[in-house]
Amino acid sequence: MRARTAIVAGAVALVLAGCGAAEPGSGVTGTVTVFAAASLTGSFDRIGRDFEAAHPGSTVVFNFAGSSALATQITEGAPADVFASAAPQNMTGVDSDGTPVVFARNQLVVAVPAGNPEGVRSLADLTRPGLKVALCAEQVPCGSAARRALDVAGVTLTPVTLETDVRGALAKVRLGEVDAALVYRTDTRAAASDVTTVEFPESARAVNDYPIAALADAPNPAAARAFVAHVRSAGSQSVLTEAGFQTP
């Protein structure tokens, strides 16, 4: 199994071979490879550093990308220890070691250019003629969450673009190409100098759960389990809430 994996994703395997020296069963040392949703980038960088400090001799390597892309990489044999997804549906089909647990939740907000020049106050305001709105495509988590929120609010709007990821939608607001976009609260917090956040009550019905799991084929199972436990610890949870996530 290990050999096949190494062939399929040679480059990652080389990294592992270079700094790995993982000895399964001897506690938490060596490299732990974490595949994590792009929206976790900032928080997980901090959480990873904390983990390395708490477990001398360990190294955390991240692969941040869209959850679906990560799930595909894992099922195609990329050697990952931990998978943290932005949506539960990307966990199905991935062989995990135990049941995935929800460690964070992300809520939608309306992002508008700094100062809210168009005076957007609610989801219904987004239907105003001439107002350009960016949404995520329904195939990606932020898009399906947006669909749920709009359905709950009974709002029908025609966006100018259905972006392939949440960062794309936010970028169009930052560049001033659209007047509003539905994105995650964590995204607007990271871009606070360029965008203003407009909260709306219907978002409570369109919250995305973030599950995490150690993987069944993890090259470093002990470290994988330790990392999952670390993400659920009080310290990591406060890092996540600081970034704008809700925690269970």
Partner: protein, 282 residues
């Protein structure tokens, strides 16, 4: 002494030619092996696509409305982008090939920049010029109410930006290789510069022009990065085939494979049809 030395060279040249022929017959293993590996490296991913294609559900997937809309939009925008490239690129190639002007090397370098530029960067650059707050876009928006991002026109611009160098390079090469005596003869017979260009120069470089246009069209058809960045993704308006492939991958790998297969078939058919013209390019 010179008249004697000249004929003496001839047999030597003939011998060299024979030697070259012999060398072409026996291919050294040191070249053959990496060449075959190189071929396998380029061809295997395409074979992988074919191996994973869900042939049984293929017909019904091909006729899904979303697929047809994306394919139609792709063919339309690639064709319009090629026309735009012909309109602007042929004169540009002529300028580069036939007119000495200061900074010509710099201009040629600029023309080829989109070849090596990551397409996403091209998309960002287009936004900064033609976007709602861009250098030209701001002015277009305020004076005429025209916005280019998120429109089919935006897709055409993004594709043309990325594909134009292919046309310019092919046409410039053809112009440099063309025999200028025909143009000079036309001029001495009283043809004006424009008549000479349309009646002599263009027919002379027609194979190179066709090759460049087809390559330009194929590149436009495959454009992804600049399109998603500049024109966004909206079904029927800006969602071209490559964008549809990317999104399909999020939910349904088989759908992504089918869409990829269509693009592959279209590209191979076009490029295979091009081969003869390519070879005959002066």
């Amino acid at each position: 002494m010179t008249p004697i030395a000249r004929p003496a060279r001839r047999p030597e040249g003939a011998r060299r030619l024979r030697g070259a022929r012999r060398g072409a017959g026996g291919v050294p293993v040191a070249l053959l092996l990496p060449a075959l590996l190189g071929l396998a490296f380029l061809a295997l991913p395409l074979a992988g696509l074919l191996a994973r294609t869900p042939w049984s559900t293929l017909p019904q997937r091909l006729t899904e409305p979303g697929v047809l809309a994306a394919l139609r939009l792709s063919l339309l925008t690639a064709t319009l982008a090629t026309l735009l490239c012909l309109l602007l690129g042929v004169p540009l190639a002529w300028l580069l090939a036939r007119v000495e002007f200061p900074g010509r090397r710099l201009v040629r370098a600029l023309v080829t920049v989109p070849l090596v530029l990551p397409p996403v960067v091209g998309g960002v650059a287009l936004l900064l010029v033609f976007g709602r707050r861009g250098l030209i876009g701001d002015w277009l928006d305020r004076l005429f109410g025209i916005t280019l991002p998120f429109t089919t026109t935006g897709v055409v611009l993004a594709e043309a930006f990325v594909a134009m160098p292919f046309l310019v390079i092919a046409v410039e090469g053809a112009l440099r290789g063309a025999d200028r005596r025909y143009e000079e003869a036309a001029a001495t017979l009283g043809a004006g510069r424009w008549t000479t260009f349309t009646h002599v120069t263009v027919p002379l470089v027609a194979p190179g022009l066709a090759a460049g246009a087809v390559l330009c069209w194929a590149r436009a058809l495959g454009e992804f990065g600049a399109t998603i960045t500049f024109a966004g993704n909206y079904p029927g308006r800006t969602q071209t085939m490559p964008l549809a492939v990317y999104l399909a991958l999020e939910t349904d790998v088989e759908a992504a494979i089918v869409l990829s297969l269509i693009l592959l078939v279209v590209s191979v058919v076009i490029l295979a049809g091009l081969r003869d013209r390519w070879v005959s390019t002066p």
